[in-house]
């Protein structure tokens, strides 16, 4: 089981800020493929990965990053702080 969190417009479009899903994905990218199967909204949100950033256990990572033993995977748009 993987704990997935969403922020900003991803949260709004997926319709939840967190969910636990049953996935045996070994990388962030594989998890994205599993998430796209969840609903039409999920599929649409993840259709353009260039607009999405990922964090594994609160560290920014690339899509090919392993997720072995990760507690929390987050997806969000490019950040706009400052």
């Amino acid at each position: 089981m993987v704990e997935v969190r969403y922020f900003a417009w991803l949260r709004e479009r997926v319709g939840t800020d967190r969910e636990t899903i049953d996935s045996s994905a070994s990388t962030v990218g594989e998890l994205v493929s599993d998430l796209r199967q969840q609903s039409e909204a999920h599929d649409l949100v993840f259709s353009d990965l260039s607009a999405i950033r990922a964090a594994v256990d609160q560290e920014l990572v690339d899509m090919d990053h392993p997720i072995a033993n990760a507690r929390e995977i987050a997806f969000f748009p490019p950040m706009t702080g400052g």
Binding site: A8, F76, P77, M79, T80, G81
Partner: protein, 153 residues
């Protein structure tokens, strides 16, 4: 503690913060501060801005950025305050302050902190207009370019 990171919804007193920072950095010689303010839209169309963040990761990311600046410019002290929640036009969103024995190091490191926290700290801004329109603020390509430039230096 020479690195002070605060993530809060409450407003901060810019003058008091800069004064306290300068006092605590006694002996450093140069103090630079930058403040980000909510910019209105044309024709004063902005009702308010909403800032969302990722509690936990935000503090981690800001601490890493501050630590990197401390080491690279041998700073005496770093302060980052960043707000989240609902902010009215002209409200202060965030501030950074740096203290160093050298003016250039203080300026450069403050600039570096701003470039980094703009695209590496997990904050997202949303603009809510009086006419009901709501837009998430897009990240700019030039923000990523600014980061790449720091790596080359």
């Amino acid at each position: 503690m020479s690195i002070d990171i605060r993530v809060q919804s409450a407003a901060f007193d810019l003058g008091a913060e800069v004064n306290a920072f300068a006092t605590a950095a006694q002996g450093a010689g140069a103090v630079v501060s930058f403040t980000g303010v909510v910019r209105d839209l044309p024709e004063r169309a902005l009702a308010h801005m909403e800032i969302e963040h990722y509690p936990g990761m935000t503090e981690k990311a800001l601490s890493q950025i501050a630590k990197e600046a401390m080491e690279r410019w041998h700073l005496a002290r770093v302060l980052i305050i960043h707000r989240y929640g609902v902010l009215a036009p002209d409200a202060q969103i965030m501030m950074v302050a740096t203290a160093s024995p050298h003016r250039k190091a203080a300026f450069e490191s403050a600039d570096f902190l701003m470039d980094y926290l703009k695209s590496r700290a997990p904050f997202w801004k949303k603009e809510v207009r009086y006419d009901g329109r709501v837009d998430w603020v897009d990240a700019k390509d030039e923000d990523e370019a600014a980061l790449a430039a720091w790596k080359k230096r």
